[in-house]
Amino acid sequence: MILDIDAVSKTFEMHIIDGKTVPGLADVSFSVDGGEFVAVVGESGSGKSSLLKCVYRTYEPSTGSIRFRTTDGEVDLATCSDREVLAVRGSELGYASQFLDEIPRVPAVDVVARPMWEQGTDREAARERARELLAALDLPAGLFDAYPATFSGGERQRVNFARAIAPRPRLLLLDEPTSALDPETRASALDLLGDYLPASTTVLGVFHNYDVVRQVADRVLVLDDARLQRVVDVADYDPEVLA
């Protein structure tokens, strides 16, 4: 087991709307084995992104524990220090958010290369790997040195995806990484997951497309209204079944 999530809840207190509280996640527990690919599905607003953000600690869980077994021992991502979170992010935990968020005037290659050189890869070697990844995602070579701010949604998503997988994190969180891609590019992206990442990589990924889920996932985790509704093997997953 690499990740053990126990009774995690996240409640947002909206002080500016009269202290209204909004549930993001309610009492979610499950665990993930090393090398597993778990797809997270559920309706819009069901808590999928909140779950990923709690694991990445962009959201601070209100209660519960998120135990991640790193190569240096176990950390509880729900409660460990900010510095420990930064250290884990810098070495073993990767995340592709739904939207690319970068310094405006950085060329696509450098956006992808940066996490690698920040983790110690030589600058040119990191750029070279970035180019290979972008090429594998069918991004036109003419765009490699252009600024992602000028890109289409699908092009930006490829940059974001390449950046997240580039350092080969042990645990990878993907939030709808292929939602803006056409079927062909989506197939390239999914192939790349298998070809580029070692089989030992653990992935927790939010997906909307049933075909994608069937192709990549070992298990499917269904969220409904902030709660974990069920976790099933992909073979037993029937999107029509709601309860």
Binding site: F12, E13, H15, I16, K53, T58, R83, I103, P104, W117
Partner: protein, 271 residues
Amino acid sequence: MLNVSNATKIYGQSCGECIDHTGPAVGDNQCPVCGSVVACADVDFGLHDGEVLGIVGESGSGKSSLAEILALDSDATAGDVRYDAYDGNLLETDYQARHELRNEHVGMVHQHVRDGLELDFSGGGNVAEKLLAAGWRHYGDVRERVEDLFRETEVPVSRMDDATETYSGGMQRRVQIAKAIANDPGLVVLDEPTTGLDVSVQARVLDMFRRLQREQDVATVVVSHDLGVVRLLADRTLVMRHGRVIESGLTDRIMEDPHHEYTQTLINSAI
């Protein structure tokens, strides 16, 4: 490498109870008893090599006062600051030690260019001055080092001997950064690093600084009222209001899951 506890700066003759009479709970930083202004009080944080700490808050919240204390540009009223390069409380140094620390161990990029550069000197001269203050003597070495620093901060070396006032705002900011890092300090303090710059220039300066910061692994405090600046540079962030830290945490957590009412207002009004 840097450990700050209880950093406090009060302007005016304090009645001794100013801190109890001010702050977010009271809603003001001016003491109703004696009229002193508590620019910042009770600020605690630690910083390791290579870390970037952001400080955000509205104008007047105390960010610059804190930055100036850290850069040894102004005296603190109280507090304890421990720094690797100095044995003792940084806030209680003698003139000599302070001089040395400012020249060699702490670099400051001021909000106002005029506070950081002699505008009628050449850009190269401004940077060279910092090297000379740290004991550099040989003309050729100084010139070579300044050229390297210009390259690193992406200022055209060909402009080195021109008066700084003829430089664009972006170039002036880069020269300030070149000067701040000239003696390889362990700590750099940036106060509002993008004020007065066009948006496109802001982005290039920030990106240049971020690259340098990571390459040199220098601990950095970046102060800005602009959440975007802090979001792009800082790993962790302190939110200040009425001279106090009201919330602190990972920068992305502060931006996406702000806990304090004031932070929520700040984030919402920025979107």
